[in-house]
Amino acid sequence: MSAALEFRSVSVFTAQERPLLEGISLTVDAGTTAILLGRSGSGKTTLLRTVNAMIVPAQGEVLVNGTPNSGSDPIHLRRSIGYVIQETGLFPHFTVERNVGIVLEAAGRPRVQRIQRSHELLDAVGLDPAVYAQRLPHQLSGGQRQRVGLARALAADPSILLMDEPFGALDPLTRSEMQDMLRGLLGRFRKTVLLVTHDLNEALYLGDRIALLREGKLIATLTPAQFLASDRPEIKSYVDAFQRGEQVARR
């Protein structure tokens, strides 16, 4: 299997020289989903943002489909990579339809094509275009907004999707619906996904591989089964913290 994404000893520092990421090396195979898991401030979002050159590493490089991303024009690079963030990411003054088509609009594609593609994708994420295409983001529920965000990320048919806590702001039930929908979509369209979360449940459910980060360092990269079975203390503590409620309730 070929690597869609490869981080080679990536280090990032703050303006005050404090390390945010230290020598991260990680490979994500094409068509798989890799989870970046860790506490707030562990560097997972920073690592995600090096992929589309929103952050340029001080050391090391990021290969996207085999080529270092520092070599490509950042505008082109970003248009070729899908991007989803927590619910605030929709443009509040654009209709749903225009939000979904914005990457195509930015690339100068004709209006008819944009609208057609946008309706296609709204369908794919389970929103009837006849009902939702002309709405504004504030007229949608949190889950619906996130569906629109996902449709927008898919509009230019990118091979890679970056997702930064996409379902973090949703209630647990809506979140699980969204996770199901994402799994369904990934089954239909083969995408390489890099997803940031601090929710272990989400990581286990969606990930082919889980990369655990702590204080800017990569602790381990494991499959979900390996993660649960691991007896390394820093992994166990994560699993334990996650299962606390269940354990107490069973007693």
Partner: protein
């Protein structure tokens, strides 16, 4: 009625002159302050000093401002030039400040997404930042416009014309009817401008 028959056409002509002075000043100040405000959001370290300068301009008493400009070459040759330059100076601050504040008030996540989706700087400005800041910018234009219409009455002191002429003449001849003939249309102009711009401003407001 007699009064209107006697002064009606003069009031109309001076109103037109008043509008022309204000409109010219608004045009210049918008052309300077909107791009200026955008530039300040890109080089924020200049924002403090530049906004302070605009602030100081705003505090110069208008009669003094006209007086200062009077002896200047080229400008002093024609009263309308002085009036337009002075009014432009007064209109700068509200437009500059609101353009700057309007763009800075946009949720950083929105700007971040615009960049991450691959919008160019120009696309980000015209498709995202300006539309989202437009109601702010318009509020600035509204304040500037109302200020200009008011201050333009003082321009008559240097002979620039406008409705102030009737007011000054009325004061000099102790004729309240003349004062009102200048003041009432000027106030109406300000109210109409305020109302119309306020209406547009509400229509442009974006719900988050």
């Amino acid at each position: 009625m007699n009064f209107l028959a006697q002064y009606g056409s003069e009031i109309a002509a001076l109103t037109v002159e008043h509008i022309w002075l204000t409109a010219a000043a608004m045009l210049f100040s918008t052309a300077l302050a909107v791009p200026g405000g955008i530039w300040l959001t890109r080089s924020t370290r200049w924002a403090g000093p530049i906004l302070s300068i605009a602030n100081v301009l705003q505090t110069i008493p208008s009669l003094a401002m006209f007086g200062f400009l009077l002896p200047l070459p080229w400008l002093g040759e024609r009263a309308a030039r002085i009036a337009i330059v002075a009014l432009t100076a007064y209109a700068l601050l509200p437009i500059l400040r609101n353009t700057y504040a309007g763009i800075r008030a946009i949720d950083p996540a929105i700007i971040e997404v615009a960049r991450a989706l691959g919008l160019t700087d120009a696309q980000r400005l015209f498709k995202v930042e300006l539309p989202l800041a437009s109601s702010f910018i318009l509020a600035g234009l509204r304040t500037a416009m109302v200020t200009c219409i008011g201050i333009a009455t003082i321009a008559a002191a240097v002979g620039a014309g406008g409705l102030g002429e009737l007011i000054f003449r009325g004061v000099a001849s102790v004729d309240n009817r003349l004062v009102l003939a200048g003041a009432v249309p000027a106030a109406l102009l300000a109210l109409v401008a305020d109302g119309v711009l306020g209406l547009i401003e509400r229509r442009l407001k974006v719900r988050a």
